[in-house]
Each structure stands twice: as structure tokens, then as C-alpha cells.
């Protein structure tokens, strides 16, 4: 007995896994990002088939916004974001592939051999309304905790990514990476002006990204 839903499920599943594999195989960062989005969209569609209609559409909506941001970061941070320059950005490929297979097999074994209760969702029930009532009823504490956690996340990420950290300048004590993997770190003055970073800006020189005014402010906070 194969219905439309089963056909749709197979199509979405294959698309989700195939685009998932594509993410780590393409050279173009933009393609990788949006293949990941495609994978999420297909999972969202499967969620709709599973009658979690609101969650499916919300996943679609949320992941789209998330992947747009991710795409921006991709282009910003990655060298060669379009993959026009041939490259190789993988390490330990065999071990990684083996680990992936083992992980998948582990879950698959559970899926095939474990015995789960059979209590499917009633197709007639209004799952959206039930979810809404649950979120603002029994699970309100959970829901509100998520909200507060997200708020804390926003604050944390702003603090982490700002140039001026809590204890002074973000460059303080930073070390330039080695030129080749496993090599020694480069001397610190490759990266920044050590005098300025130590807070004794006697030369009065301003290197890229150093703001003495902000730094003094940061030190004051530290002392108090």
C-alpha cells in the first residue's frame, strides 16, 4: 500500500540526504550553505507530512533566516568563497567517513531492531492548537526558559564578538597562528603592537583596530 504521502516522503528524504552530502562536497561556500538550507527545507516538508505542520513551516522559516546569516559569514570569513580557485579543505577524510558511517549505522540499528510503542498521532487532531496550548500552559516554563536562554545568547555573542572584551582590548595576549599546521606560533608582534596591547601606549601609535579610549574604559571596569 503505497500512497501519495509515501512517495512524497521518499522524494523529500532522498533530497534531504543528497543535499546534505552535497554540503561537504562542493567548493563554493554559497552552494554549501544553501544546500544545507535545502536539506533543512526537505526535513521541514517531512515534518509537515508527519502532521507537525507548524513545526515544519517554522523550521523552514527559521532555517532560511539562519542560513542567510550563515551565507554572509561564509563569504566574509572564507577565502575563495565562490570556489573558483581549486582547493582542498578537508583533513582526515578516511577517519571522518568511517566515523560518519559508524554513527549512521548505530542509529540505524536502533531504528531497525528496537521495539517502540505504536501510538501514532490522530490525523484529525488539531496539532497546532494543541502545541500552542501546551506552550502557554503545561510547558510554559520550558518555553520561557528558551526565550531567556536565547536572550542570554544574544548578549553573549555580542560580548564575544565585539572588539573590546570585558577585560580590555580583544587583542590583548593574542597570538598569531603558525604559518603551517603544527608549526610554532609567530611572535606576538606579527599581529599587533605589543606596547599598545599592554596598555602602555607610550609611542602613541595606533595599530589597526586599537582604540585607546575604549581600552582605558575596559581597564577601569576591570579594576572596579
Amino acid at each position: 500500500m503505497i500512497g501519495t504521502i509515501d512517495v512524497a516522503f521518499v522524494v523529500f528524504s532522498v533530497a534531504a540526504v543528497a543535499s546534505g552530502c552535497g554540503v561537504f562536497r562542493v567548493d563554493s561556500m554559497i552552494r554549501a550553505t544553501y544546500l544545507l538550507l535545502a536539506s533543512f527545507l526537505n526535513v521541514g516538508a517531512i515534518l509537515v507530512l508527519l502532521l507537525a505542520e507548524y513545526l515544519g513551516v517554522a523550521l523552514l522559516f527559521m532555517m532560511t533566516a539562519e542560513m542567510i546569516v550563515m551565507g554572509l559569514f561564509m563569504v566574509m570569513f572564507m577565502m575563495n568563497p565562490a570556489g573558483l580557485n581549486p582547493m582542498n579543505m578537508v583533513h582526515q577524510p578516511r577517519f571522518a567517513a568511517a566515523a560518519g558511517v559508524v554513527a549512521a549505522a548505530g542509529v540505524a540499528v536502533v531504528a531497525v531492531f528496537a521495539d517502540f510503542p505504536d501510538a501514532p498521532v490522530d490525523a484529525e487532531s488539531d496539532t497546532i492548537r494543541e502545541l500552542g496550548i501546551e506552550l502557554l500552559g503545561g510547558s510554559m516554563l520550558v518555553f520561557e526558559s528558551i526565550g531567556v536562554t536565547l536572550m542570554a545568547t544574544m548578549v553573549c555573542s555580542v560580548i564575544l564578538s565585539s572588539a573590546t572584551g570585558r577585560f580590555g582590548d580583544g587583542y590583548e595576549g593574542s597570538v598569531a597562528p603558525a604559518l603551517e599546521p603544527g608549526g610554532d606560533h609567530r611572535p606576538a608582534d606579527d599581529l599587533y603592537d605589543p606596547d599598545a596591547a599592554m596598555g602602555h601606549s607610550m609611542h602613541g601609535m595606533d595599530m589597526g583596530g586599537m582604540d585607546h579610549g575604549e581600552m582605558d574604559h575596559g581597564e577601569m571596569e576591570h579594576d572596579s
Binding site: 563554493s28 554559497i30 552552494r31 544553501y34 538550507l37 505542520e53 507548524y54 513551516v57 517554522a58 523552514l60 522559516f61 532560511t64 533566516a65 542560513m67 542567510i68 546569516v69 551565507g71 554572509l72 563569504v75 565562490a82 573558483l84 488539531d126 497546532i128
Partner: protein, 312 residues
């Protein structure tokens, strides 16, 4: 809500196609009329009515230039996805009492998702030709889009509160007595700003703009350009129809049949958007981002508060 009938699949496709074809054509004519009347040029009704057809004919005969090492998949996908999302957005909007192509229970969220995915399509359009101005325009657009994205969601959710449903059909029905434009006076202007953003027109003409030599469309010619313009007008239609349904009472109105009211209201919004496009100067992306987060978002919260208090 129960009496809403879903159209059968072939009929649904015909209806969506008809709405988009007619809508895109009318929207293009509105653009010509708006431009000529503001520019003070002679306006011949026959000429304006045939203008889009003539442009389409000319562009279809023009070469579509291939740029150097474009992302060809995304270059083709961008207009197709933009058009497809406009079509998807149209399907959840009730066109007249009891007629909606897809009466999904989460209509308004689906519309929001289509709008979010439209940002992706627009970014593809800027990214794919491998051209600096197009990339800058696409990047800039995303910065702006992330700022109006929240706005749109809050405004739509506020409109769903009095209806106690996420279905757009239910939202229209909830406006039988009082339209949302009066019940939530901040909603309509905020949503119009979002509409201008998604169709990158008027003050938010930040994608295909003249200051970047055509921006995202800088490398488009021939069919590529025609397809992109078509998709943009289709998106304008989708947003106008949504505005009409969510804020202007949809099919409600005296004397005339519901479908006609819906068409008239949609046309009015299209005309408004068309004139705003011609009449308002572009503001810089940085300013809009400031405005969106600092001023418009608080207004959206206020709107949500008004809706919530009204529902109590």
C-alpha cells in the same frame, strides 16, 4: 472556516497562473503610468497598455549575455525561485469568499517563509553573475532584508491575533465588522515598508539601483532581465494581495461580489506601491537598518501590544 473549499489541483494551477499573468501585466502597466505621469510625459492609454508586451518582445529577442565564470545554476535558479515563491505566496491568500488555492492552517507563517526564502533568491541574483556591483548589491540587500524580516513577522502575527488563527482565510473573516487597517493602524504602513523591501522599490531600491550601475541586474540582458522583472512584479502582486486580505478586509465590501472587491483592493495597493517606487528617493542601507531596528521595530511591538490588548 469549514466551508472554504480547496480547488482541485489542475484548477488551482490555472487560477494561480491566471492571477500572476494578469497581475504582472497590470503591475507593469502601473509602472509605466506612474513613471510617465510623475515625469510629466504624455500618457496615451493604448501605448501604456501595450508597453509591457512590447518590452517583453524586444527583450525576448535580445541576447542573454553569459558573464565570466558565473554560478550558472544559481543564475537560472534566482528568477525561477523568486517567481515560484511569489506563486507559493499567492496560493495561501483567499481570492474570494470560499475560494483559496491552498487553505493551509498555517497560511500566514507559510507566507512569511516564502518571503524569507525570497531573500535567498534575491541574494542568488546578486551573487551568481560573478560581478562586483551585483555582489555588493546582493550583500547590501541581505543586510536590509534581515532588518525588515522581523518587522514583517510581528506585523503578520499581530493581524492573526484577532482571528485566533494562522489561516489567512480566518483573518479575512475576522475583519467582517472592522478592518485591520483601523483595528491595528500601525500594521498597514509597516507592512507596506516590507513590501517595498521585498520588491526593492522606492526608498528601499537597494538591489537594482542606479548608484551601482544597475546593482544586482548589472549583468542581466534579454530573457534573464525579462524573467527577473516578471518575478519582481509577481512578488509585488503577492504582497499587494496579502495586504488587501490581511489589512483591507479582503473580500468584504458592499454591493460588489467578494472576488471583485479583492481584485480592486489588490489593484489599489499595487498602484500605491508603483507610485511610491517612482516618487520616493532611495535611502542608504545603513540608514534603513538603523531606522528598522531603532524605530520601526518598536512600532511593530507597539502594534503587537495594541492587537493583544484588543484581543483581551
Amino acid at each position: 472556516m469549514n466551508e472554504v473549499e480547496q480547488l482541485s489541483a489542475p484548477l488551482a494551477i490555472v487560477v494561480v497562473a491566471a492571477v500572476l499573468v494578469v497581475g504582472v501585466y497590470v503591475s507593469s502597466v502601473v509602472d509605466v503610468v506612474a513613471f510617465r505621469s510623475v515625469a510629466g510625459q504624455r500618457l496615451r492609454p493604448g501605448s501604456a497598455a501595450l508597453h509591457p508586451a512590447r518590452v517583453a518582445r524586444r527583450l525576448s529577442r535580445q541576447q542573454s549575455v553569459r558573464t565570466e565564470r558565473p554560478d550558472m545554476i544559481l543564475r537560472v535558479l534566482a528568477p525561477a525561485a523568486f517567481l515560484g515563491l511569489a506563486a507559493a505566496a499567492v496560493t495561501v491568500i483567499p481570492l474570494s469568499p470560499g475560494i483559496v488555492v491552498a487553505d493551509v492552517r498555517t497560511g500566514i507563517v507559510l507566507f512569511g517563509a516564502a518571503q524569507a526564502l525570497a531573500i535567498v533568491a534575491i541574494f542568488f541574483h546578486g551573487w551568481s553573475p560573478n560581478s562586483p556591483f551585483a555582489l555588493v548589491a546582493g550583500y547590501r540587500f541581505v543586510a536590509v532584508a534581515l532588518s525588515y524580516e522581523l518587522l514583517s513577522m510581528f506585523v503578520l502575527i499581530a493581524a492573526a491575533i484577532p482571528a485566533e488563527s494562522l489561516s489567512i482565510g480566518a483573518i479575512v473573516e475576522s475583519q467582517a465588522g472592522l478592518w485591520n487597517v483601523i483595528r491595528q493602524p500601525l500594521g498597514l504602513p509597516l507592512f507596506l515598508i516590507v513590501s517595498l523591501g521585498v520588491t526593492f522599490s522606492g526608498p528601499l531600491d537597494l538591489l537594482d539601483s542606479n548608484d551601482l550601475a544597475g546593482g544586482g541586474s548589472v549583468e542581466d540582458s534579454g530573457m534573464q532581465r525579462l524573467a527577473w522583472q516578471t518575478a519582481r512584479h509577481a512578488m509585488r502582486i503577492a504582497f499587494a494581495a496579502c495586504t488587501a486580505a490581511v489589512f483591507l478586509g479582503g473580500w468584504h465590501g458592499p454591493v460588489l461580489p467578494g472576488g471583485l472587491w479583492m481584485a480592486l483592493k489588490t489593484f489599489a495597493v499595487v498602484a500605491l506601491l508603483g507610485f511610491l517606487d517612482v516618487f520616493v528617493a532611495r535611502i542608504s542601507a545603513e540608514r534603513f537598518v538603523r531606522l528598522a531596528w531603532g524605530v520601526l521595530l518598536p512600532f511593530a511591538f507597539l502594534n503587537l501590544l495594541i492587537a493583544g490588548v484588543g484581543a483581551l
